[in-house]
């Protein structure tokens, strides 16, 4: 036995093993942690568990540098004890058994309390401004060129006697960008019904297809033109990403639409669609929340709704006070984030001063990782 290793480990390991029910989880998990003195080099660690039946089970064999382990092979509300062994060459030194611990599921994830607070503040802001709008007060909304162009784009299609192609993105109905796109589709469909233009809506997702068809149908009914609604113009193409892109490209090349709308979730096919559309000479209005696809749309389209403008579009087009009120709430939410980012930067700088280290605790509250 290496005498120094034995002395160090037998002296330091037993008091340093700690066990606890893993916090903020669904149960069936115990967190074991330990500390080894820095002077000791251990080749491997062996973790053992003893249950209520006093049977010992080897839980894990770990590298000597590990300082903890999460045991997810336990039963809730059963008592367990743990011990860890340090292995160096042929020598093995066991720590004492830990205190008794048992796992249980939690009803609230305290690590997410900051998200809850932020969410409640933001909800309060949005609801406050919605009530504000309900009271009939004027709310200023800045001009969005891409949305101002919708009327012009639909009018152009009518004048040219060519159709409008509306691509509601490739996302599923669970994507918020798709929901936003379907909201805009309703407004665009109302205008196409009023102007008597043809509206073609190729879909990649079957659920989006069924919703899009209902949205367009309702819009035509609201515009007083239910007879002009053609269900065949809203159709499902395929769920395959590039097959869908090929089909929409083919549609644009054959039909030579006057206007193309690309609004929703897009991936690598964004440029394939937008460039093909540009070659057909159509006015193109695009919008997505994907920062990776935005440059492609900005390059290849006439107007691009950048990020949040996509979500603001239905409020902007419909001018409904309730929707405009929520837009105002969003703006104040952004202002709040700017203030927090600024304060966070100041706190981070201050926390680097040794005497003001407690500021790091305040900073931790904003950690959502």
């Amino acid at each position: 036995m290496n005498l120094i290793l034995f002395l160090l480990i037998s002296t330091f390991i037993p008091p340093f093993i700690s066990v606890r029910d893993t916090p903020n989880d669904a149960g069936k998990s115990i967190t074991v942690s330990w500390e080894l003195p820095e002077a000791v080099t251990v080749e491997a660690l062996v973790l053992e568990r003893m249950g209520a039946d006093e049977q010992t089970v080897t839980v894990a064999t770990l590298p000597g540098t590990e300082q903890g382990y999460v045991d997810e092979d336990v039963t809730d509300r059963q008592p367990y004890r743990y011990r860890v062994a340090a292995v160096a060459g042929a020598d093995t030194v066991w720590s004492a058994w830990s205190a008794v611990v048992s796992s249980s599921p939690q009803f609230f994830n305290w690590a997410r309390v900051n998200i809850l607070v932020a969410m409640l503040i933001f909800f309060a802001l949005v609801i406050y401004f919605i009530e504000h709008a309900k009271a009939g007060r004027y709310l200023f909304v800045r001009r969005i060129a891409g949305l101002d162009a919708v009327e012009e784009a639909v009018g152009r299609a009518t004048e040219m006697g060519k159709p409008i192609v509306y691509v509601p993105g490739l996302g599923s109905v669970a994507d918020i960008a798709t929901i936003a796109s379907l909201n805009i589709l309703g407004e665009v469909a109302k205008k196409t019904a009023q102007y008597d233009s043809a509206l073609l809506v190729p879909n990649r997702d079957p659920i989006v297809y069924t919703v899009a068809r209902e949205v367009v149908k309702e819009a035509y009914t609201k515009a007083g033109r239910p007879d002009a609604f053609k269900p065949d113009n809203i159709f499902f193409v395929t769920s395959e990403q590039f097959a869908y892109a090929a089909a929409v490209d083919g549609l644009m090349v054959r039909e030579k639409p006057a206007t193309n709308f690309f609004l929703g979730t897009f991936w690598a096919e964004s440029l394939i669609l937008a460039e093909t559309g540009a070659t057909t000479g159509a006015i193109q209005i695009a919008g997505t929340d994907s920062v990776f696809q935005l440059p492609f749309f900005i390059t290849a389209c006439d107007y691009t709704l950048i990020g949040e403008e996509l979500y603001a579009a239905s409020a902007y087009l419909s001018r409904e006070p309730l929707l405009l009120g929520s837009l105002k709430g969003q703006d104040y939410g952004k202002l709040l984030i700017i203030v927090i980012v600024f304060l966070g930067s100041v706190l981070l700088l201050l926390s680097k001063i040794p005497a003001l280290g407690f500021f790091s605790n305040i900073l931790n509250f904003f950690n959502v990782s």
């Binding site: 929901i179 309702e218 193409v237 440029l271 390059t299 949040e308 969003q330």
Partner: protein
């Protein structure tokens, strides 16, 4: 009733899913799993409607002999052949569906479409980099520096160029990206709230309940 029932379901499920995010208890996890299973089941039913739409759309094109109607024959034949092979031999690895249709047809076709992107990128870059305005000139300079800094010849021209390229990407570019993401996140939350509360009804065709 036609509107109020979906709105009530939306409100109930929206609130439950929000609560679910903060509750790690197994009951909450089981509820989430059940919901995702339901989404899959609903998707399967919607797929039937989707395939129905596909058949109707292409048979209509064939009947009316619209431009490019011959492609509709290809689509319908592909649909039937894929379905028959899948039903007869299954969809497991090694089946004709996987080996012939997927590996030897669908994958190369997808790869071809993806490859076209390179040419579109070149044409889009040409258009974007024409320095007609101050903004376009700035974009051109930034892109030139970043591209040059990312290749070995850039470093041999000036040893600081990779650092400058990295700075452009990680400071001004990242700042703009994060600003967009903040707006997107808030927009997404506000849209969700409006949908849950029934203020935004565009997905139902709009209007009052």
């Amino acid at each position: 009733m036609r509107r109020s029932l979906p709105l009530a379901i939306c409100l109930g499920m929206g609130i439950l899913m929000m609560i679910q995010f903060f509750v790690p208890h197994p009951v909450s996890v089981a509820f989430y799993d059940l919901t995702t299973k339901w989404i899959r089941i609903v998707s399967a039913f919607a797929l039937v409607l989707g395939v129905g739409s596909l058949i109707l759309y292409h048979t209509d094109r064939l009947r009316r002999q619209r431009p490019g109607w011959a492609y509709s024959i290809v689509t319908l034949v592909a649909l039937v052949v894929t379905a028959v092979i899948g039903l007869a031999w299954g969809v497991k690895p090694g089946s004709p569906l996987q080996e012939v249709l997927f590996k030897n047809m669908l994958v190369p076709l997808n790869a071809s479409m993806f490859a076209i992107l390179a040419f579109y990128m070149a044409s889009a870059a040409y258009r974007a980099f024409r320095a007609r305005t101050k903004e376009a000139a700035l974009l051109l300079i930034a892109a030139f520096v970043v591209m040059l800094g990312m290749v070995p010849v850039g470093e041999s021209l000036w040893h600081k160029l990779p650092e400058v390229a990295e700075w452009v990407l990680s400071v001004p570019n990242m700042a703009a990206k994060r600003a967009i993401l903040f707006g997107v996140a808030l927009g997404a939350i506000a849209t969700s709230l409006k949908v849950i509360l029934g203020i935004e009804r565009g997905w139902l065709g709009g209007g009052k309940g």
